[in-house]
Each structure stands twice: as structure tokens, then as C-alpha cells.
């Protein structure tokens, strides 16, 4: 972290990263709504948000392309911080305490093991969704029908896993107070960093006089 925050604050995400994140997030919401509209008849009414069925069918893959590119750019910034290491095993071993809000003093870097696993799960789903989605994109691709059939089934499966993963991601932001501002204002409080990401807190504050 090179940008200095105000006293009592630590910079967690740069402006560029925040913009990048929200492009990914908005695209994801659009994709989930338009995808669910075509996934289950009970949700077909969601096509109205996109100007009707044909427009939903037309827009979904283009939004998907923007989402995929934006995610790759975001991932390029954060993937190094998401390698699993020995402290992550410790965190996972104490998952009950974490869920019970009793996770004092666990050594956590910039991301905890849950965030890291979620990151790699999203990467996996992204690859799966892009690959299968291209197979289904009849306007530009003509693949053998057997491949399109399997791609369609897998697209739904990857999307289901991804939507569940993002529900967890959003809930974690609601649950762990003080997190959302990292992606809106870009900063977290010293106490937040100390409590939830102590190794990262020490890493970024070492050598800084406050």
C-alpha cells in the first residue's frame, strides 16, 4: 500500500480497483437477473427489466464479455494475495469461532481463507461460464448440438454456484461491519484491520509512524 490514509484509517483499495470492482458487480447483477429470467419460467418476468425476451437474449452475452474482461483486470490485481498458505489452514480449523464472532487473534493476511477460496471459486465459475456461454452464443458461434446441450447444462450449474458464492460474498460484507467502506471509500479503520486481518495490518503499518 503506497497511498497513505488519514489517521486511524488504512487504505485497502485504490480508486481504480474500486471502480473495477463495481463494474464487475453491476455486470454480475445484470447477468444474474437476465440469466435467471431465462433459467426458470417463474422468473421470466425479469426479462422486462431488459426490454423484453429478445433484448434479454441479445444483451446477456455482451454484458458477460464486459464482466469477464473487468474481472480478469480485477483478478490481476488481487490474485497474488489469494494463494492459500499455512495460516489459512488454521483459520479454516477455527471456522466455527469465526461464524460465532469469536475469532479473536487469528493470523490473517490481506484475505482470510474464506475470501481466498471464494476468489478461486469465482475464477473457476468465470472460466466455466465464459467457455460454456460462448458455446451457447448462436448469433456468433455454431457448434455441434451435443456440445451446446452439455454447455447449456454446465452454464446453469456454474451460474448457480456463482450466484450462491456471490450471495455469501454480499452477506459477508453485511455481516462484517466496516467492510463495505473498503470498496466505497477505499479505507478501513485501524481497528478493523487489526481485528480481521492482523498480519496485513502489521504488514502495511510497519515502518509507518502514526
Amino acid at each position: 500500500m503506497t497511498e497513505a490514509g488519514k489517521s486511524g484509517e488504512i487504505v485497502r483499495y485504490s480508486y481504480a480497483t474500486r471502480v473495477n470492482h463495481w463494474i464487475v458487480a453491476i455486470c454480475f447483477i445484470l447477468l444474474a437477473l437476465s440469466g435467471l429470467a431465462l433459467f426458470h419460467p417463474a422468473l421470466f418476468w425479469l426479462t422486462q427489466l431488459f426490454g423484453g425476451g429478445p433484448w434479454t437474449r441479445i444483451l446477456h452475452p455482451f454484458v458477460g464479455i464486459v464482466w469477464a474482461i473487468a474481472f480478469v483486470l480485477l483478478a490481476a490485481k488481487v490474485w497474488r494475495d489469494n494463494f492459500l498458505n499455512s495460516t489459512d489452514r488454521q483459520w479454516l480449523g477455527h471456522i466455527r469461532e469465526v461464524l460465532d464472532n469469536r475469532d479473536d487473534g487469528l493470523p490473517v493476511g490481506k484475505y482470510n481463507a474464506g475470501q481466498k477460496l471464494l476468489f478461486w471459486l469465482i475464477v473457476l465459475c468465470l472460466l466455466g461460464l465464459v467457455a460454456t456461454g460462448l458455446c451457447m452464443w448462436r448469433a456468433y458461434f455454431a457448434l455441434p448440438v451435443d456440445i451446446v446441450r452439455i454447455a447449456s447444462m454446465l452454464h446453469a450449474a456454474f451460474a448457480t454456484v456463482l450466484i450462491c458464492a456471490i450471495v455469501v460474498h454480499i452477506y459477508a460484507a453485511i455481516w462484517v461491519k466496516g467492510s463495505v467502506r473498503a470498496m466505497t471509500r477505499g479505507t478501513v479503520s485501524d481497528g478493523w484491520a487489526w481485528k480481521h486481518h492482523r498480519l496485513w495490518f502489521r504488514d502495511v503499518t510497519r515502518g509507518q509512524q502514526k
Partner: protein, 301 residues
């Protein structure tokens, strides 16, 4: 196409019953195509073009009498010509099959379609596309075991043979049936057509076609377009007519169990979060944490 027929027994992407006060009390209909009587004149193709006002692009010869080379959004039926050297008799057999929608009792296109009312099945068994509801996704193509629906390049809607549902609705036979000069295509109630087929098969057997039989595949619940084949044991001979057509297992999962299971998984994940919040509440940073952070910062060199 969207005339109120009041006899719709199935409607794509719809979970409540469709208007079906009127039934098909004369029985389900069927078109029977007797391949052994077909002379390959293509009058059926022309009649289909005329009645439906379809004019496909004029293509070029691909070395076969099959012309146009494939079904398209403007060619809803097509004579497919196959040359078969029968190893038993040594004869060259010209196996000509009129291809087009089979009007399955269990239609894969309708199962796969995500748009309410874009595909319907009438009480008489006809499967019809209502293009005004079609969104152009092509899911019907993945559902079809016979490779029939085609997406138009002009309007991105899916098209296929309607079994002349408009003519049948007013008591006429389909245009291809009306025009067939040899009587190879006949139309009537499905029961009558099966009976007629049985007579034809008996005749063919007496003429040495011991494997003659009816093509009414059970894998799709039977079809409302049936064939009398001289080689019913080898339907693939007739330009790859599938021996056991079924809706693909992948489509079955995607359009079956995946739908409730997927939504359930999403709802369960959200419910887990909500209940967790009710039980444990937020994870908050309190004064002690900020204090501890400050102390540590002060002690950091």
C-alpha cells in the same frame, strides 16, 4: 398462428394450465409418410412453400437431389435422398425421406424453450411455434432429437413445420398431404394412420421387405408424423433418422431437476445468511479493537 384455439395442452415455460376447454375428440392426428411409395418428386416441398408463402433462397447444387441442402427457416420440409446398396439383395435402393418436424408427443423443443407460449402443443398433438413469443435463443434446437428447428437470419425467430395447424384447424389436411401424387403422405387420426400403416407393412412384407415397419419412436412418446419404412430395423439408412430418439440427458437435467434445485440452492444460501445474522448478529469492531490497534501502532518502530 395465435388464433385462440382453446385446445392447448402444453405451453412452453408455463406452470399453470393453458386454455384447453376444447379437446380433440376425434382423436389425435398424425401424418403418415410411406417411404416405400415416395417417388421423390418434391411436390410436398412445393406445396409447403405455396401454402405457407415461403420462398427460400435459391442455392446451388451440392451433388445430391436433396435440394435445398438442408432444412431452413424458409424450408420447413425437405426430401432427403440416400443411395443404399443393399448387401443382401445387391440392389441399389434410393431411400427418400421427407424430413421435417415429427410433432413429438413429448416435444424436446417445448421442454427446452424458456419463453412462455413460444411453443405450444394442441390437443390433437400438433406442436406449433408461436414466433411472436420467440426470443431467438435457440434452446429449442438443443431440445430437438431430430435436428429440425432453424433460427431465421432475418428475424432471429425459430421456425419449423406447423403440420399446417391452420389448415388442420378448419378440417383440411396439411398441404403436403393434399398434393402428394402417389398417396405416400396420408393424414388422419393417429389410430387410423397406424391401421393404414399396418396394412402397408403387411403388403411390404409380402413383397420381401421382411423388416418393414412403422416408425413411431417411443423415446419421445410417439410422434404425430410417422414413417412406414422398408428397413424399419435400420432407420439410420434414411439420411440418419435416429433409431432411438430421446431428449438429450443434458437437456433433461438442465430443464428438469436443475431448475428447482438451482433456485433452492440460491434461496438456501440467502436464508443461511439471514438466519446467521439473526442468531449471531454483525461482527463489529469495537473500541477495544481500535484501542488495541493504536497501542500496537505506538509500539511499532
Amino acid at each position: 398462428m395465435s388464433l385462440q384455439s382453446l385446445d392447448i395442452i402444453r405451453r412452453s415455460a408455463t406452470t399453470t394450465p393453458s386454455p384447453q376447454a376444447r379437446g380433440a375428440h376425434a382423436g389425435e392426428v398424425a401424418k403418415l409418410i410411406d417411404v416405400s411409395k415416395c417417388i421423390g418428386c418434391k411436390a410436398c416441398q412445393v406445396a409447403c412453400m405455396e401454402w405457407n408463402d415461403l420462398r427460400d433462397e435459391v442455392g446451388s447444387c451440392t451433388g445430391s437431389y436433396t435440394n435445398p441442402p438442408d432444412l431452413s427457416s424458409e424450408s420447413w420440409t425437405l426430401m432427403r435422398f440416400a443411395e443404399y446398396e443393399n448387401p443382401d439383395s445387391g440392389n441399389l435402393e434410393w431411400l427418400i425421406r421427407k424430413d421435417g418436424c415429427m410433432h413429438c408427443a413429448d416435444p424436446g423443443c417445448l421442454k427446452a424453450c424458456p419463453s412462455p407460449g413460444a411453443i405450444v402443443q394442441y390437443a390433437n398433438g400438433i406442436v406449433d411455434f408461436h414466433e411472436e413469443n420467440c426470443i431467438g435463443c435457440g434452446y429449442c434446437i438443443t431440445g430437438c432429437p431430430f435436428n429440425v428447428p432453424r433460427i431465421s437470419k432475418k428475424d432471429s425467430k425459430a421456425y419449423k413445420c406447423t403440420l399446417c395447424s391452420d389448415r388442420v384447424a378448419v378440417g383440411l389436411e396439411p398441404a403436403c398431404v393434399k398434393t402428394c401424387p402417389t398417396g405416400a403422405i396420408v393424414f388422419g387420426s393417429k389410430d387410423d394412420m397406424k391401421q393404414h400403416a399396418a396394412e402397408r407393412i403387411e403388403d411390404l412384407k409380402s413383397r420381401g421387405f421382411e423388416h418393414a415397419g412403422l416408425y413411431d419412436p417411443a423415446g419421445v412418446g410417439g410422434t404425430h408424423v410417422m414413417y412406414v419404412l422398408h428397413h424399419a430395423d435400420k432407420p439410420e439408412l434414411y439420411s440418419d433418422l435416429p433409431a432411438n430418439p430421446t431428449i438429450s440427458a443434458a437437456v433433461g437435467v438442465w430443464k428438469g431437476i436443475a431448475k428447482p434445485l438451482g433456485l433452492l440452492a440460491m434461496a438456501a444460501t440467502a436464508a443461511f445468511g439471514f438466519l446467521h445474522y439473526l442468531r449471531r448478529g454483525p461482527s463489529e469492531v469495537d473500541k477495544a479493537d481500535e484501542e488495541a490497534a493504536r497501542r500496537e501502532l505506538e509500539n511499532t518502530p
